[in-house]
């Protein structure tokens, strides 16, 4: 048993031999050792496993690696510039203290970047609705929402 899956992850083309039932998040964390993508609930509720597939935020614990065949995958490790300069959304989370323990943060940032691309001038209410698929158990969301509003503005200004 086993299949070959090929995709681009953070700009690097790769092929991997996996079991058919391998989840995308398992491939990312255990085969590629990119452990910034987290597994929280493992039931598609918490969003800690959010990555981009062809530019769209998806939950990598809720799909098979094979469903990403040929796709362009972006994880939190691929978000900052190669010289280490933070992405405007990451910088906004840092600036606004949009985290406490940090467990949910990679998923928050990945969803936020996708959200901001589609809603460049989002207000607080829109941001809160956009965050329905991400849970944070520390912050009460207040600073996360502030971060995303600021990050969205920074992303729009940077274009």
């Amino acid at each position: 048993m086993g299949v070959k899956v090929s995709m681009t992850v953070n700009g690097k083309k790769l092929s991997s031999d996996v079991e058919e039932r391998t989840l995308l998040v398992t491939l990312i964390r255990e085969h590629l050792r990119l452990t910034g993508t987290h597994v929280g609930c493992d039931t598609a509720q918490c969003g800690a496993c959010t990555v981009h597939m062809n530019g769209n935020a998806v939950k990598s614990c809720s799909m098979l690696a094979m469903q990403a065949e040929g796709a362009d995958i972006l994880t939190i490790e691929g978000v900052a510039a190669p010289d280490g300069t933070l992405h405007p959304m990451q910088a906004a989370f840092k600036e606004n203290h949009g985290l406490q323990c940090g467990f949910c943060t990679p998923g928050m940032v990945m969803n936020a970047i996708d959200f901001a691309k589609r809603h460049p001038v989002a207000g607080e209410q829109e941001v809160r609705e956009g965050l329905e698929g991400n849970l944070c158990r520390c912050t009460g969301y207040h600073n996360i929402v502030k971060s995303i509003v600021a990050g969205s503005k920074a992303m729009a200004a940077g274009k």
């Binding site: 048993m1 299949v3 079991e19 058919e20 039932r21 989840l23 493992d42 039931t43 598609a44 509720q45 969003g47 959010t50 597939m53 769209n56 935020a57 998806v58 939950k59 809720s62 799909m63 098979l64 094979m66 469903q67 065949e69 969803n111 996708d114 959200f115 956009g130 329905e132 698929g133 991400n134």
Partner: protein, 264 residues
């Protein structure tokens, strides 16, 4: 998750023939329900036939009389489609309330109605608008499609290819959602169509159903007051930790009233 054999189909016919050859095979659409059910070992198919590469199963076509949506079209595409928003705004709005952003980027129309979760949103639009479900074998009217708890008229190996929604005069969907899952505790789709008023209820019973009482009242007078005056029976409605049958029956009237209020 139990092991299975993976197949990538390049056409609807190929996908159907693989499933026909393997009794325990399942189609894989977006996987937002199926993958979770496999992880929990609620289902353990011998084979999965991935529909993700079949180009002609996805896409939206609209003309004056209706909107046809390919079975593999993602919820986010329907929610964001200028064509759907123009032709049937209630359908685009409904698609935009399914699950969360990430789920809407993967989940598909065909997958949602084939799965027929009792609390899913799409069945309410399909039944409320009197849509037609196209499969690789035939056309099925929405009124004949949903049979019971996660049960549809689909035969083994039958694959949904698209769904055609006729354009109503006006329509709206109101959902009282579970705050954690965004599934409908009760969702009501009200449509004023060429063939009369249709009211489809999801989340309340074992499967989506039409409320004859509300349809009769709204046919006489398409007003929020008319909807508010209807007492829906709680017989056979779902009972769980979120809501009792009595509460769900009450919510059907309230959601119907709000839906009519938004368009009357």
């Amino acid at each position: 998750m139990h092991a299975f054999k993976y197949h990538r189909a390049s056409s609807a016919n190929e996908a159907a023939s693989i499933v026909a050859r393997n009794g325990e095979a399942r189609f894989l659409a977006g996987g937002q329900s199926l993958v979770q059910m496999m992880k929990l070992r609620f289902v353990s198919p011998s084979d999965l036939v991935d529909l993700g590469s079949i180009k002609d199963l996805a896409g939206i076509k609209a003309d004056g009389s209706g909107v046809t949506i390919g079975a593999m079209t993602r919820h986010a595409e329907v929610a964001g489609s200028a064509e759907v928003r123009k032709a049937i705004p209630a359908l685009a709005a409904l698609a935009g309330t399914i699950g969360d952003r990430q789920v809407r980027n993967m989940g598909t129309l065909g997958g949602a109605i084939a799965h027929a979760d009792p609390a899913a949103d799409y069945p309410a639009a399909v039944l409320g608008l009197g849509a037609t479900i196209h499969t690789n074998k035939r056309k099925i009217a929405a009124d004949d499609f949903f049979k019971g708890m996660m049960e549809t008229a689909l035969q083994p190996g039958e694959l949904i290819t698209s769904v055609s929604f006729p354009v109503p005069k006006r329509a709206a969907y109101m959902k009282f959602k579970n705050q954690a899952s965004r599934f409908a505790i009760v969702g009501v789709f009200v449509a004023d169509t060429a063939g009369g008023v249709r009211v489809a209820v999801t989340g309340a019973g074992p499967c989506v159903f039409r409320s004859k009482e509300l349809e009769a009242a709204l046919s006489k007078s398409f007003t929020a007051q008319a909807a508010a005056g209807v007492k829906v029976s709680d017989k056979g409605l779902n009972k769980d930790l979120h809501a009792s049958p009595e509460y769900r029956a009450h919510l059907i009237t309230v959601m119907a009233k709000r839906a009519v209020q938004s368009i009357a």
